[in-house]
């Protein structure tokens, strides 16, 4: 489905700058993560979202702190966009006590309720049924809270997607299903795993609106997200947003890209939304070179600080194996 661009809400200049702030914060953080892994200071499989910054940034600029997200292993960009503080984030991926999860969850299971990051799952599709529960709770609370489920294109082929979208529609839940369609599921090209031309085509099967959006276009992403959020807050029910994008670093950081062509990868990177958007902001006089450089410096300092904080944080005690299994600690 295509809502006419014309009547899509437009982001204000301030909002555009805020979207950029979230994007550059995601990118700087991602870059630093890859550096630390290369330098052997972090050990973990890392699912970089480099290239997908626009999607959660354009959405999160319209979210409140108490709006919740359920995301996936490739979700640190979604968390950073939701303004998760970087110190506990880094302490977590470094497996330290000051991590969001005391080092017990790790990069694939970061959780930070204060900023609305409720669930990060490593299971394809599973963010969606759980997001419904938060949306149901919002209705029960008579709150206008919105619940967002982030997932990938490949995840739209698993049963949980189907069950979750149907339930959300029947119950008219204030939830938004955000498919970050980067064209690949691990090594499988979209069309080799997915029966339909656009994932948004599936929305009609649930009686909900579905939009195929250029996930690298900040204005367009903002506009469709605005409509989906409005529907949720106005009690009109769920929306499916298919956001087309590309992941620059492959499935897991370090894998070989033999399953994609050099050309398509080069083309995608040449079309990197981040520098393009930055140039646009300056060209249109929405922000100045200096202002954005300032912003970037501050963010780089924040990242640096988070890394040092994380690596200085102690390792968890093995007593943690007996804690948080249940509310009450398991006796030794």
């Amino acid at each position: 489905m295509q809502a006419e661009r014309s009547n899509l809400a437009k982001p204000s200049p301030e909002t555009l700058v805020d979207i950029y702030r979230r994007m550059i914060r995601i990118e700087r953080n991602d870059d630093a993560t890859r550096q630390q892994i290369k330098r052997g200071r972090l050990q973990m499989p890392y699912y970089s979202a480099r290239g997908q910054e626009v999607i959660p940034s354009a959405i999160s600029t319209q979210l409140n702190k108490d709006d919740v997200i359920c995301t996936i292993y490739r979700g640190i960009h979604d968390m950073v966009a939701k303004d998760m503080p970087l110190r506990p984030l880094w302490a977590e991926i470094a497996g330290r006590v000051d991590g969001t999860c005391k080092g017990k969850g790790g990069a694939m299971h970061l959780t930070h309720p204060e900023t609305g990051v409720m669930v990060t799952t490593g299971i394809v599709g599973s963010s969606m049924p759980i997001a419904n529960g938060f949306a149901w709770a919002a209705l029960l609370d008579n709150s206008k809270r919105v619940s967002i489920a982030y997932f990938g294109d490949g995840a739209s082929n698993i049963g949980a997607f189907h069950e979750a979208l149907n339930l959300a529609s029947v119950w008219k839940l204030p939830v938004i299903f955000v498919c970050q369609n980067n064209g690949f599921a691990e090594h499988t090209r979209y069309e080799n795993g997915t029966g339909c031309a656009n994932i948004a085509d599936r929305a009609i099967g649930y009686g909900m609106p579905g939009y195929t959006v250029d996930g690298n276009n900040p204005e367009e992403m903002y506009g469709y997200a605005h409509e989906a959020i409005r529907r949720a807050r106005d009690g009109e029910g769920p929306t499916l947003l298919e956001c087309k994008t590309f992941r620059f670093m492959g499935h897991v950081f370090g894998d070989d890209d033999s399953y994609m062509t050099k050309e398509e990868k080069a083309a995608a990177i040449a079309d990197d939304p981040l520098p393009k958007f930055r140039a646009r902001l300056i060209a249109d006089g929405i922000a100045t070179e200096e202002q954005l450089a300032e912003m970037q410096k501050a963010i780089e300092a924040e990242v640096e600080d988070a890394i040092e904080f994380a690596l200085a944080s102690p390792l968890p005690s093995i007593d943690e194996l007996r804690r948080d299994v249940f509310a009450t600690e398991i006796p030794a």
Binding site: V68, P129, N132, L139, L167
Partner: protein, 333 residues
């Protein structure tokens, strides 16, 4: 164990479950009930167990769902993390197989993986058991899978009073609980104290005191063990019956105390014997009471096959009182 002294009312396990749900929803507005056909518009449950709840508490707190167990448990997890206490019904236990990811990878693990930030005070009610000729895909006792899962409690009552008291405890518990109803015990009437409140999880119930052998059991097989008592007595054997009621965590102290006294133990359950819950109990007893046992710990459980349809086969599949008697006799000499 005797309830003569306190005022009781006679009700079935199903009525006790219903009473517990009404009481829990009454006492705590955060308690929700949902699952396939649970609302009154859909007849209040295929078995009628949830009848009247939606009429009383409204259709936002009591909701029928599509046939989609992953989304049922998923929604329960999210609502629980958001501060509610959902009681999700999985109509029959075999159907939980389509929701194992939600139960195992999520409900049971989110508290741990989040370093204690997330809590999932969720109760899953489900019904199962052979005896109704529902055959291979509607009768299995799968509690063993969940006992072998860290982060979820497993409850399997037999008596009407336990159905009420343990369900109340599951609902109040801050962690996920699997509450297993059995088709042969659910409709058995029993005396339930009028003011029956929560019964603590993890505590067994001595159904019958005895001196020669301890029968460690739960759910349907508690009835089977009770039915074996007369013939055991005829054979001059005094059996003690311990109904575990909660399987995970199970009441090691009560079991070990009883077996220390009797010197013999037979673990009896409807679930398959092979790699079943009884193995954990037998392995623990032999370890803790090594050298103090008069006989090896025996286990009775379902044979290694699917639940058959034909009545004659279904009867053979289920442990019968005579099997219990024979097994006990084999270790009395």
């Amino acid at each position: 164990m005797s309830t003569d002294t306190i005022e009781t009312v006679k009700m079935t396990g199903q009525q006790a479950v219903s009473a517990a749900l009404f009481q829990a929803m009454e006492e705590d507005s955060k308690v929700l009930v949902f699952g396939e056909d649970v609302a009154d518009r859909e007849g209040g449950g295929v078995m009628g167990t949830t009848r009247g709840l939606s009429a009383k508490f409204g259709d936002m707190r009591v909701r029928s769902t599509p046939i989609a167990e992953q989304s049922i448990i998923g929604a329960a997890i999210g609502a629980a993390m958001a501060g509610y206490k959902p009681v999700a019904e999985i109509m029959l236990m075999n159907f939980i197989t389509v929701a194992m990811d939600m139960v195992f990878n999520h409900a049971a693990k989110l508290r741990f993986m989040s370093g204690g930030q997330s809590q999932v005070p969720l109760t899953i009610r489900t019904l199962t058991g052979a005896g109704w000729q529902t055959a291979g895909q509607h009768s299995d006792h799968l509690e063993g899978w969940f006992c072998h899962t860290a982060g979820i409690k497993v409850v399997a009552p037999c008596s009407a009073a336990d159905y009420k008291g343990l369900l109340l405890s599951c609902i109040q518990d801050p962690d996920p609980c699997l509450f297993i109803e059995n088709g042969r015990t659910l409709f058995v009437p029993g005396q339930v104290p009028i003011d029956q409140g929560p019964i603590p999880l993890g505590k067994a119930r001595i159904v019958q005191e005895g001196t020669d052998v301890t029968l460690v059991t739960y759910s349907s097989m508690t009835l089977t063990c009770q039915a074996a008592l007369a013939d055991l007595a005829k054979a001059g054997i005094s059996a003690e019956i311990v109904d575990l009621r909660t399987l995970s965590p199970w009441d090691k102290d009560t079991v070990l105390e009883s077996v220390s006294k009797t010197g013999r133990a037979v673990v009896v359950h409807e679930a398959l014997r092979a790699f079943g819950p009884g193995a954990e109990i037998a392995a623990t007893i032999q370890e803790e009471l090594f050298g103090k046992l008069k006989a090896p710990v025996k286990r009775l459980g379902g044979p290694y096959c699917a639940v058959p349809f034909a009545k004659v086969l279904e009867d053979a599949f289920l442990i019968q009182p005579a099997d219990v008697v024979a097994c006990v006799q084999s270790i009395m000499r």
